[in-house]
């Protein structure tokens, strides 16, 4: 008897506490959707994104949001877009898809974002695409080159890619290797998810007979790649194509040195930043070696390029990014990097889309604007976007470059193609786009 009473008291205590907690959040009812869209007021637009601010994918990628925020500050200071200032919420998912799901939930329900802009990562963003589309939330310019963001707009009508997808990157790399290194014995070093899979698909269109070994890694798993490099070594691989993130470029280099595996290296754009990888390598290999010498270790590696980077300070776009960064970087942020340029370039496209959309902004209208006008956007990309009603794929081409002294030297002009068996063609037409004098898209 007394136990029951006591237990009822206990249960009620717990639930009272719970209701108090509920009351704390009562002021946060979601606004209704009549008239204005969630996350948009007359003076503000709130967007959000998930990034790996910690964990194995954080080096490099964690700098991207600071590029976004600097460019939005720049635009906000000039009066915003149609009178609205852009605010960006950034959440850390540590490159773990389960965390991505949780922080996206928070951004939708608690922060009430208008749209997801530039959420990063193939395995991570994949976890929330369905959710964003179910809830009708625009999911723009995913920071990943997986095909799934854009190849089926019927399935994911709210999602748009931004960078060249890994399949066309794999195709362009594959064609280059086939034409210039026909005797190379190729080993693939792949992230064990759709990222590696899409890249492999593209490369195999040209290199199927040249590939002698495939090795994979799990992000967040072991950081010792000696076994993988030993396998390359024993199979006689002399050219490695890596579809991996930047830390893993450094780790694969270390492991290769550790087992005495010598080879030419060709890394996908996302894993190839010389400054970052060089710095990581320098800090790991011999101790007190300045980062510049670490950068030297990257000499001779090949990669691709689809936006101008810090190694081209005379480029009009890079001048703009430098100006924005000098004036709007937060205290404590260091110098302009390629990752920050990447973020600013994406932010530029988002502002461009908002401008083109006009004052009446809804979640549907921004999608419609991108489908109708996105294909003709001029921006820092060396090739145009493929946006249309039938495709939400991003930038359509890249050039192949070789890294020398930390800078990239073009090996080919810009080559443009599409997924599947679309032919690869040279097309420099978008490479000469220059930014407007205000630095803000009109």
């Amino acid at each position: 008897m007394r136990t029951t009473a006591r237990r009822a008291v206990q249960a009620v205590c717990v639930l009272t506490t719970a209701s108090l907690l509920a009351a704390c959040g009562a002021g946060k009812e979601r606004p209704s959707e009549d008239g204005t869209a969630v996350g948009v007021t007359d003076t503000t637009i709130k967007v959000g994104a998930h990034f790996p601010l910690t964990g194995p994918a954080a080096p490099g990628y964690s700098e991207i949001p600071s590029g976004h925020q600097a460019f939005y500050e720049y635009v906000n200071d000039a009066g915003g877009v149609h009178g609205r200032k852009i605010e960006m919420v950034v959440k850390d998912d540590a490159y773990n898809p389960t965390n991505t799901s949780a922080v996206t939930n928070d951004m939708i329900l608690q922060d009430e974002i208008f749209a997801m802009v530039a959420g990063l990562g193939t395995p991570t963003h994949r976890a929330v695409v369905q959710r964003l589309n179910d809830d009708g939330i625009p999911d723009l310019f995913v920071s990943s080159g997986s095909l799934q963001w854009g190849d089926d707009p019927k399935k994911s009508p709210m999602t748009f890619g931004w960078q060249p997808d890994y399949e066309i990157e794999g195709k362009i790399i594959g064609k280059y290797v086939k034409e210039n290194m026909p005797d190379a014995k190729v080993g693939l070093f792949l992230q064990d998810d759709d990222f590696g899979e899409d890249g492999e698909k593209g490369a195999r269109q040209f290199l199927d007979s040249q590939i002698v070994d495939v090795q994979k890694y799990t992000p967040g798993g072991s950081t010792d790649f000696s076994p993988q490099m030993s396998s390359f070594k024993s199979k006689g691989v002399d050219l490695v194509l890596g579809f991996n993130t930047p830390s893993y470029t450094a780790l694969s280099q270390i492991a290769a040195q550790g087992v005495g595996f010598k080879s030419k290296w060709f890394y996908s754009n996302v894993g190839s930043d010389p400054a970052l990888v060089g710095g990581l390598l320098a800090s790991m290999t011999k101790g007190k070696i300045p980062a510049e010498q670490g950068v030297k270790l990257m000499d001779g590696m090949m990669t691709t390029e689809y936006i101008p980077g810090v190694d081209a300070p005379e480029d009009e776009w890079v001048k703009l990014w430098q100006k924005v960064w000098d004036n709007y970087s937060k205290k404590g942020d260091e110098k302009l990097t390629n990752y920050r340029i990447y973020g600013m370039s994406q932010a530029y496209t988002f502002v461009q889309a908002l401008q083109a959309n006009g004052k009446d902004l809804t979640r549907e209208s921004i999608v419609e604007t991108l489908e109708k006008e996105g294909g003709s956007f001029e921006g820092p990309g060396l090739a145009p976007f493929r946006f249309s009603e039938d495709s939400h794929m991003g930038i359509s081409g890249t050039s192949v470059v070789e890294i020398k002294n930390g800078a990239s030297e073009p090996l080919t002009p810009v080559q443009v193609t599409d997924i599947g068996d679309a032919p690869i063609e040279e097309d420099d037409s978008a490479a000469s786009d220059a930014p407007p004098s205000s630095g803000i898209p009109e």
Binding site: M1, V12, S19, L21, L53, P97, T98, P123, Q130
Partner: protein, 365 residues
């Protein structure tokens, strides 16, 4: 008051009826709270429910039968994958799919529970801790082995849309809360309903002959064996029941997170479950509920606290595990009975003032 008690006595003197009564009251209160909460809080309540189910099973195992498991994260993973695979095949749109998936999760975990429980019954102390910890690390990695389990990036989990729920459920919820049911509140209601059922079952089990055997084994295994209790069998049964709870919790977790991937089932998950049951008090279901509430709500507050202390967002996120760790250490050093165990004497004093009934000290499960 006294009259009310005497009126209720026929109900309250039968353990099952008593448990059902308490659970029903609690459930009605929970439903009302959920119905009046924002969608964000509803997701937190849903999370609290599945943590509480897992913690309930763990507290039964550790508190009653005296076996430690640091592998419950792995068992939740098994439940989550089982439920996800069923939902994928079945389409996952209807309520029937949901229950089929959850029942499958429980069944699969029952089998795994026996398989793990048999060797675990022979281990004790640090050995069972190390072995189950290894289990927690090893099992999620199986997802990288078989394509069907989706590898590192995991499997998407289809969840029923509220509009496709049977009309009577929609009406019932509307009748009680005056709010249309949606996907978020549905998962919270479902979680708390299953939580109530699970806790009634566990409370009953622990007061039954089986529960008495477990306690006997925990308190003195030699005497228990002399009294004719089959030690191994008692432990395996406890482990299996506990695994079934973890399976159900894993299935619910999959639906809430909408993704089942190995990255969700870290050592930290297993350790935080342990923190929850130790905090509440080993062996106490109320304690498990409180512990689960802490798991669902603390990260938010701890992160805010960390940020107000001037930490960056990523540093602030680490405040939560520090708190869990401190809880484990302080409870063991200062209050080994946990919150509920420590408050029990206090509550007893309060109720002895309001009631003149005899003070036979009873152990709450």
């Amino acid at each position: 008051m006294e009259r009310l008690r005497s009126l209720l006595r026929p109900v309250t003197s039968v353990p099952l009826a008593r448990h059902v009564l308490v659970a029903l009251i609690a459930l009605v209160v929970a439903m009302a709270v959920i119905g009046s909460s924002s969608q964000y809080l509803q997701t937190r309540y849903a999370e609290m429910a599945y943590f509480a189910i897992a913690a309930g099973g763990l507290t039964l195992l550790t508190g009653l039968s005296g076996q430690l498991s640091l592998g419950h994260g792995a068992l939740m993973a098994v439940g989550a994958y089982a439920a996800t695979l069923v939902l994928e095949r079945a389409g996952g749109e209807t309520l029937a799919d949901v229950f089929l998936a959850l029942l499958t999760a429980i069944a699969v975990c029952a089998v795994v529970g026996v398989v793990v429980g048999v060797p675990a019954a022979r281990l004790h102390g640090p050995y069972i801790a190390g072995a189950t910890l290894t289990l927690a690390v090893a099992v999620p990695r199986l997802a990288n082995q078989w394509e069907a389990l989706g590898g590192e990036q995991g499997l998407q989990v289809p969840v029923p849309r509220a509009s496709e729920l049977p009309a009577w459920i929609q009406d019932l919820i509307w009748f009680f809360t005056a709010v249309e049911i949606d996907q978020y509140s549905f998962l919270a209601y479902l979680g708390w309903l299953l939580l109530a059922i699970t806790f009634v079952a566990l409370a009953n089990l622990s007061r039954s002959r089986v529960g008495r055997r477990w306690r006997a084994v925990r308190d003195d295994d030699v005497s228990a064996e002399l009294a004719g209790i089959h030690l191994g069998r008692a432990r395996v049964v406890a482990f299996t029941v506990s695994a079934m709870c973890a399976g159900l919790a894993g299935g619910l977790m999959a639906m809430n997170v909408r993704l089942t991937a190995p990255g969700a089932f870290t050592i930290t998950l297993s350790l935080t479950l342990l923190a929850a049951v130790v905090l509440g008090g080993l062996g106490s279901l109320t304690g498990a509920l409180i512990g689960a509430g802490v798991l669902a709500f603390l990260p938010h507050f701890a992160t805010d606290l960390g940020e107000s202390l001037g930490f960056s967002a990523t540093q602030a996120a680490e405040v939560t595990p520090v708190v869990y760790g401190l809880v484990l250490m302080l409870v063991i050093l200062l209050a080994p009975a946990g919150i509920v165990g420590s408050l029990r004497p206090l509550l007893a004093r309060i109720s002895s003032r309001t009631s003149s009934l005899g003070a036979t000290k009873e152990k709450t499960p």
